[in-house]
Symmetry: C2
Subunit: 458 residues, 2 copies
């Protein structure tokens, strides 16, 4: 399908219409569609894997000639052990989650016979733009159907064969269900993106799944709200009373568990008082794992004094831009926080540095003091603020959300790992019996609102 602006409008228009009917489907009807989707993807495994193998072959050639990043190749390959089964399993776990639609979150008696309810409902039409990972199609289709949202999916060129194969299976599976046609639409051509991003009157939310560049491009080119994060610049602050053991464990895990992830550590702030005690232990453990350290003068000279000469030689001087860099690699920027009196001022200085440099994703403090931890957790303006725990816990599965649409660094709607709940909004329902607002005006001998909270469950 080649998309002009008017074709993009058609796609968005039919998704919008479908979304209205999809929003009224019962949870069992939505679940049945997911069961059918699971079955169809299981039955068509060979066809889909054959198509995926053609994508992988083309990508391998591109990678060999230097035209494609090897990490893309890895993300593309659906035949890696467990990957296809995980994709199938994911559909069933989404199906088995609690229904996010129709939850009453407020119930108020406004007056005799006049009740107000706030009820969760789907947002409407989602646009998902992704790059290499073909399993995102199944994943997002499941999330959209479960939450009653229509979805337009736009894949990248590397995964085109897989995309077409999966798209056919998805369409066929859903055509036998109550999910209305047009609810899940798959758009293939490259030039479609800007036409789709222009449909702000019909598309309610864009979710880019891919590189920081993709997210930034989407954010810069649409009026539709975007759910996601362009950067994951996470920081850790080691306070003057940090436990050596805890600090070493948490910092090493944050930096090295999966350095390419958005929730891995990029900046380390160290209190001046522990530059020659806790910090060398952390530095040694990181250097042993192959991490390069980019240190300010105080932290670097502390390492020169405390580490064996051979190791200290691997420590580089930091430049200012290191504190604004998401390395996504085994590199860590280190900065010293000067001693202060009272000691709480050092926490405030760390908070100020992090608020100015972090991407509001996840930041952590290492301290044995509840007071310092509270000050830090209260002051940091990020989606996640952790005390003596790894930045790597910032994840929907780890949070117990069952699945995750993405991690948001937005300041409105949804923040941090976003599960099904982030794909819903609410509406206000009033049930009356001929009630007029005019009867409640002041001074007209009018009626009074009772505004009594009613129990949420009827």
């Amino acid at each position: 399908m080649s998309l002009t602006d008017s074709a993009a409008a058609d796609v968005a228009e039919s998704a919008s219409l479908a979304s209205r009917r999809l929003a009224t489907l019962s949870n069992p009807a939505r679940n049945e569609a997911l069961t059918a989707l699971h079955l169809a993807l299981d039955r068509n495994r060979d066809t889909i894997l054959a198509a995926n193998a053609r994508d992988v072959e083309a990508a391998t050639r591109a990678a060999e000639s230097g035209n494609l990043n090897h990490s893309v190749l890895k993300r593309l390959d659906l035949s890696r052990p467990g990957k296809y089964d995980d994709m199938l399993e994911g559909i069933l776990s989404v199906r088995d989650l609690a229904d996010p639609v129709g939850k009453v979150t407020l119930r108020t008696l406004l007056d005799d016979g006049l009740t107000l309810e706030r009820v969760s409902c789907p947002i409407g039409v989602l646009l998902i733009i992704f790059e290499a990972r073909p399993e995102v199609i199944a994943n997002i289709a499941a999330l959209a159907i479960k939450s009653g949202n229509a979805a337009i999916l736009k894949g990248g060129k590397e995964s085109m064969e897989s995309f077409v194969a999966i798209a056919n299976v998805v369409s066929q599976a859903l055509s036998g269900s109550q999910v209305p046609e047009g609810s899940i639409q798959l758009v293939k051509t490259r030039d479609a993106v800007s036409s789709l991003l222009a449909q702000d009157s019909l598309i309610d939310l864009v979710i880019p799944r891919g590189s920081n560049d993709l997210v930034r491009f989407v954010k810069d080119n649409t009026k539709i709200p975007v759910l996601g994060h362009a950067d994951g610049l996470c920081s850790a602050y080691v306070h003057s009373d940090a436990s050596v053991d805890t600090a070493v464990k948490v910092v090493v895990d944050s930096k090295t568990d999966y350095p390419a992830a958005c929730n891995s550590l990029e900046s380390l702030l160290v209190h001046q008082d522990v530059l020659e005690s806790v910090f060398p232990a952390i530095a040694k453990a990181l250097l042993d794992k192959g991490v390069s350290l980019r240190c300010d003068e105080a932290s670097r000279s502390a390492l020169t004094r405390t580490l064996p000469e051979g190791q200290a030689a691997h420590v580089q001087a930091a430049v200012d831009s290191d504190y604004n860099t998401e390395f996504l690699d085994l590199v860590l920027a280190v900065k010293t926080v000067p001693s202060t009196n009272p000691p709480s001022s050092a926490v405030e200085a760390a908070v100020a540095h992090i608020n100015a440099h972090s991407s509001k994703h996840t930041d952590i403090i290492l301290t044995e003091s509840k007071e310092a931890a509270d000050l830090f957790m209260n002051g940091i303006d990020s989606a996640g603020v952790f005390w003596n725990a790894s930045t790597r816990f910032a994840d929907g599965m780890r949070f117990g959300f069952g699945t995750e649409v993405g991690i948001s660094t937005n300041k409105i709607h949804s923040r941090g790992p976003v599960g099904l709940e982030g794909l819903t909004i609410y509406k206000y329902l009033i049930r009356g019996n001929g009630h007029r607002a005019g009867d409640y005006h002041d001074g007209d001998g009018g009626r009074k609102y009772t505004h009594t909270s009613l129990p949420i469950s009827q």
Copy 2:
């Protein structure tokens, strides 16, 4: 203050810094600032009213020479009976509302000694752009301080003298409180708006308070999320089994209680079966109140047959654009919904028309059937969907929210009347004891997440 882009950046930057400290203030400290604000505005009543009188005088001249709408004049005048006292009273009611910050909405035990909490927190920096109403300054300053958000307020030229006078009192009152300097900033010049709207990295939410044109201008000229509605095109559907008495009461109130309000009725859909029974009673009551009806052919000819000739003469033929028009006046568009078998299909037709034409603000159904009401309330994609109750109930005070920032027709974050809760977001806090994500990986003999829900109140 004349605002260049760099000056706008300075305003936004200092607001952002202030917001971080404001976010950590206790509820009592925020409440004390509101008490001080109330006292100062009470003490300086004469000065402020004198300044306001100068605005009103200038506006009266402008209105007399045809350069200003009379409704602006009315909105501008702070000396109207009760208005100043209402403004003062509003500050105290906001103060006395429950603290919207620090509410725990999720608590999960991830593993032994590892707990996750979701806690409400301020959004950050709000930009409020308003036109004539000078009391908005006090209102919004109170809401911002109570919710821990910094606010940049930009007033219109008609209220300039009032604005300066109130701004001085606000600044002085807050300077004696713990609210940090820069938390509430007031910007006066006209050309500042586009410079401020460009500060999307520092300002988190824009709230335009004024005409539809203002809201549309703001939405079209910023990447910052906008909370508000450009249009309030509300509809009512009279089903085949509607009670005459209920329908007349509710439709007349919806249309005539305050026709210039965004929650007043603009379109009426009538089931074909009641064109000569319920509808003429509604039409007569509306015509008696001076409402002009713009009817499609079926509804018009029904009135010709049933109403006295003199009254029927006031009924005009509708044109297509009437069903997309927010009249904000004593005008109502009327459309017939054909009879269907089953009758539920007529409800679906009404829902489809409304979803295609309404502005997703508030729509209502008049019916005695719970089944029809449920179908309608489920299918309509609007912030408010009411059954046998007036559209005019769509209002934060009436909903029992104590106060209202505005009414949102957005599909994300906040929808419908927005109270203090709409000015908050949340963050995720994890408290651990040296926990590493790497210990939980599959197949490493790893630990398992418990994901046990904990009680919200500790």
